[in-house]
Symmetry: C2
Subunit: 338 residues, 2 copies
């Protein structure tokens, strides 16, 4: 071991840090549970003040806050902590865009159990646990619908505005509607639009509640059951397929898109909203890494590239497929024209 | 919602990614279990080749490899994967510096259980589970001693070389020796040095085996028991206190350092090896984040700044304390002069 070479020695630092990456998740979860971000938003800025507000120990809060500074959620000036801009918007319970509740879905026990069997999933090429998250009427999707709405509110607004540029729509199908916010947002921007929301019966109750709360309940209709098996009817100007295709393999997606196309009016559009990695499958990081979640929680789902979505859409009979320039939250919008 | 402002809209991307940070840990753990890095080192570069070598599914391997590219462990050119330089050194089972076994300690069930109770630890200001990792004769330290040696081999060599600059040593105390590699490295660079290794009896068996395997067994002596209670004897030129102080609070560290100083020759040095954050406690990230591990796994331990280590050393009677410039792996070396 040359004593002069240690400045350039290889380092196991990445290994060490990634071995502990799970602590980032736990720290964020704990901070949300303790309402730490909310405490800071309320004006508590030293560890002692925050500790008092959160009914926690000064030392524990100091270490957690420093950790959250390292991860970019907080700022630190001297002994005072502050909220990073995104934390102020999304993690303060008093903020209308508060997303802390998404923990309930993102870290649901079933999801964690799927991830804990990653090695088996890699060996098998799909979730180690049966159908993963995809069982019929799986209550995790009710959790999803309730927990993810705040996270999807702004993206849904952006998507609806982007689609509105292509003209007003009258009849809209919202596939795997979940919280319903994508269809609801379209209804808000298209005053005569009638929205038909498809999802499991238990999930649609959440969508219906949201549609009523947001003033479009009278234009919001339900199609309960599997999206693959339900009768969608026809005459749609617009079909919203948001964060749905990634759960299935290419043949299933193609079959499904063919069913969708058959339900559409001439001139109709399918709006496919997905985390879309580039063709290299490793950029951009958030979209590309999403593939891992599909490996552990679905039998054969994936994060599809634009080329793959284009190809399955064309195989399903769509004439033209384009990638909209706007970022829809973490997603992209692909528009397939009948 | 202004449709023109979405380019600058706040983003929950950090929230979303940190909610999933635990997957980084699981992906790395699975890749080690599957010997994926070793497979690539052996010349398997496509997902099909790697899948065959790892007895896994092509699709599972492709998704895992892409994920590891995103995390910086692998490279990707077209459809071919390669090892990032640090992965080649530390994660290929055929490499002498292979550290994959460290998973056994870093992700030991007791450690994970401690971390899973983070919210309680923050409320309490220390581990939620009794003494955390600090019970007497805790078998986790045998695991530590066996699993962490490869990770500490190079840092120990660097430390021994750095200390050798200060002159040859004859009698050396190695506190909480664990795998023993710090004392062994000093023995290798100081041909007449006698090493006295202190640790729990069960742990010292590992240190002894390593000392014998590395040719210094005849100069390696054991002091079994608690470092706070054992009789160290006296006449030490050098006392190694490696990754030990962070488990305890400041008064305990000061008391311990006083005991150490009393065992030393005039002119003797204490070599304190620690993850040392800057005074802001949030940089550098790896050292600063280490504080979180101490919060969850010890009653009152911490990652101490140089100022804190200097202060406790001086309170214990040391005359001069300096921070050596060299990086000792992820650690820094603080030398306290009697």
């Amino acid at each position: 071991m040359a004593t002069t070479s240690h400045q350039h020695q290889p380092t196991p630092e990445r290994f060490f840090n990634v071995m502990h990456a799970f602590q980032q998740t736990e720290a964020l979860k704990s901070a949300i549970e303790l309402e730490l971000f909310t405490a800071i938003a309320e004006g508590n800025v030293t560890s002692a003040e925050i500790a008092k507000r959160c009914a926690a120990a000064d030392r524990g809060v100091r270490i957690l806050c420093d950790f959250l500074v390292i991860q970019g959620f907080l700022t630190k000036e001297g002994e005072s902590y502050g909220l990073a801009p995104d934390s102020a918007v999304f993690l303060d319970r008093h903020s209308p865009a508060y997303v802390g509740g998404a923990v309930e879905f993102l870290l649901a026990p079933r999801v964690l159990e799927c991830h804990a069997h990653l090695t088996e999933a890699v060996r098998k090429g799909g979730t180690a646990l049966g159908e993963g998250n995809l069982e019929a009427e799986n209550p995790v999707w009710v959790k999803f619908a309730r927990a993810m709405m705040p996270l999807m509110y702004m993206p849904a607004q952006v998507m609806a505005a982007e689609l509105r540029k292509g003209g007003e729509v009258c009849k809209v199908l919202d596939v795997a509607a979940g919280h319903g916010i994508f269809g609801i947002s379209v209804a808000q921007l298209n005053p005569s639009a009638q929205i038909y929301a498809s999802d499991w019966k238990n999930v649609l109750e959440v969508a219906k509640q949201n549609a009523e709360a947001m003033g479009v309940g009278d234009r919001h209709h339900l199609i309960p059951g599997s999206a693959f098996e339900s009768d969608f009817g026809g005459g749609y100007d617009l079909v919203l397929i948001t964060n749905f295709l990634h759960h299935f393999d290419v043949p299933s997606c193609t079959t499904f898109l063919r069913k969708v196309r058959a339900s559409m009016n001439p001139g109709g559009r399918a709006a496919i909203v997905e985390l879309v990695p580039n063709s290299d499958r490793v950029t951009p990081p958030t979209a590309a890494a999403f593939s891992m979640i599909m490996l552990t929680t679905t039998p054969a789902g994936d994060a599809y590239t634009f080329t793959e979505i284009e190809s399955m859409s064309k195989d399903a009979g769509f004439s033209r497929v384009e990638l909209a320039p706007a970022q829809i939250g973490l997603d992209r919008l692909v528009i397939a024209y009948r």
